[in-house]
């Protein structure tokens, strides 16, 4: 019998569906960290991100027969988290959503993170802050491509948009990110 750790995602899904529902635990463990980080792209709150994650894994389990094992499981589960997070944002209708508006960007202080101790930490924090200032439509493909290291084709499947749009958003997102870094973090 195969060790579940040796199986690909898609093989593991087939095992869960056909043989042992309990093996779903391995899928959760494989993706928990990556998806929590991805969910944080939207909600910026670990507890909310955990709720999003739990709902997403439950929905994925309920709809596991709807997954086509000829496709990539990772794209499918990322898509579910994306949908859950968007629903969460809509449901809460609070500052998380407002952060994406240019008006909110205008009033944000540039003095955040003044107490960083090392250059490395400061750079990381600066990038995180700058990313958070990006509108979600640009932030999401950038995070998927650069932080989650997903391919363009996977991003197409996760965000459900044509490959040309993904490319455009990554390109524009980078340009915007550069501008934000220059505007908010330029040395005095």
């Amino acid at each position: 019998m195969h060790d579940p750790g040796d199986l690909s995602d898609e093989q593991l899904v087939e095992k869960v569906r056909d043989e042992n529902h309990g093996l779903y635990r391995h899928i959760v463990e494989r993706y928990e960290q990556k998806l929590r980080r991805y969910a944080m792209t939207f909600v910026h709150d670990t507890e909310v991100a955990d709720d999003v994650l739990q709902n997403a894994f439950m929905k994925a389990y309920i709809n596991l027969w709807g997954f086509n094992t000829k496709k990539k499981f990772s794209s499918w589960i990322y898509r579910i988290v994306h949908n859950e997070a968007i629903n969460e944002i809509k449901k809460r209708k609070k500052e998380l959503y407002l952060e994406d508006t240019p008006e909110a960007e205008m009033v944000e202080s540039t003095e955040d993170g003044a107490d960083v101790t090392t250059d490395g930490n400061r750079t990381k924090e600066m990038l995180e802050q700058s990313l958070e200032r990006l509108p979600l439509m640009y932030r999401e493909p950038l995070v998927l491509y650069y932080l989650e290291e997903r391919s363009y084709q996977e991003i197409v499947d996760i965000l459900h948009m044509p490959v040309g749009t993904v490319g455009t958003r990554i390109r524009r997102g980078l340009a915007l990110l550069k501008k934000i870094v220059e505007d908010h973090h330029s040395p005095l």
Partner: protein, 237 residues
């Protein structure tokens, strides 16, 4: 107090306690089947009603009425509104269902919608060309969608006969014969004399049992007229 169990533990417990259950395979198979049937049905309906719309536009040419005196009412009365609405409903439903399919997001929506509408128009032209709307007019079920009125308060469509300088008889579908009188200022488009058994459209007004013509359009008999109209022109020899 916070639940400190890991996410994997919580989910596994929910699965073991049957708080969450996997939908069976048949649920998704049926769902895909229904989606496919819905898409096919909406495409067929949209293509058929595109065909009927083209057929009726060709039969009555409502746009010709525009610009003529009292032409707007004739235009409104001759436009095939119900087939247009049904064709649009089919297009909207089909496009909506297509967006549910996996492949759709990989392409620009405008391209999918454009391709869908273009293919329906081509099907519509083919359906009209092979005479399907006329045949559908034979069916009691489909007749209300295919059939059109051929007379109204301000306009008539039919075949002229018994033509004289000041009047003619107009045989309208379903066998009625209406006496139409020219006025001094009746406009004839194009301005050539009216021939016996010519297909015409007339805009004007009723004067008791007769009709006074303001504008008369010469027409070629539309293809398929014999199927749908059961026309009986009273020929007196």
């Amino acid at each position: 107090m916070n639940d400190r169990r890991s996410l994997a533990d919580k989910i596994t417990q929910s699965i073991n306690e049957h708080k969450v259950k996997m939908h069976p395979k048949v649920y998704f198979t049926l769902g895909s089947g229904m989606l496919g049937i819905g898409l096919a049905a909406s495409m067929l309906a949209a293509a058929f009603f595109c065909g009927v719309t083209l057929f009726r536009l060709r039969m009555h040419q409502p746009f010709d009425f525009l610009g003529a005196p009292k032409g707007f009412e004739a235009f409104i009365g001759n436009m095939p509104w119900i087939p247009i609405i049904l064709a649009l409903a089919g297009i909207i439903a089909g496009t909506w269902i297509m967006r549910k399919y996996d492949f759709s997001y990989r392409h620009a929506f405008i391209g999918i919608a454009g391709g869908f509408v273009s293919s329906l128009l081509v099907f519509g032209i083919v359906i009209d060309a092979v005479g399907l709307p006329e045949r559908a007019g034979e069916s009691t079920l489909m007749r209300p969608f295919v059939e059109q009125r051929f007379s109204n308060d301000t306009w008539l469509i039919g075949v002229a006969n018994d033509v004289s300088d000041d009047r003619f008889n107009l045989a309208v579908p379903r066998g009625d014969v209406i006496h139409v009188y020219f006025r001094n200022n009746t406009v004839i488009e194009p301005p050539i004399p009216l021939q016996e058994f010519e297909w015409v459209r007339v805009i004007g007004e009723w004067n008791d049992e007769t009709f006074d013509a303001d504008v008369l359009f010469h027409e070629l008999p539309p293809r398929g007229v014999g199927h749908i109209m059961r026309f009986q022109i009273p020929i007196e020899r």
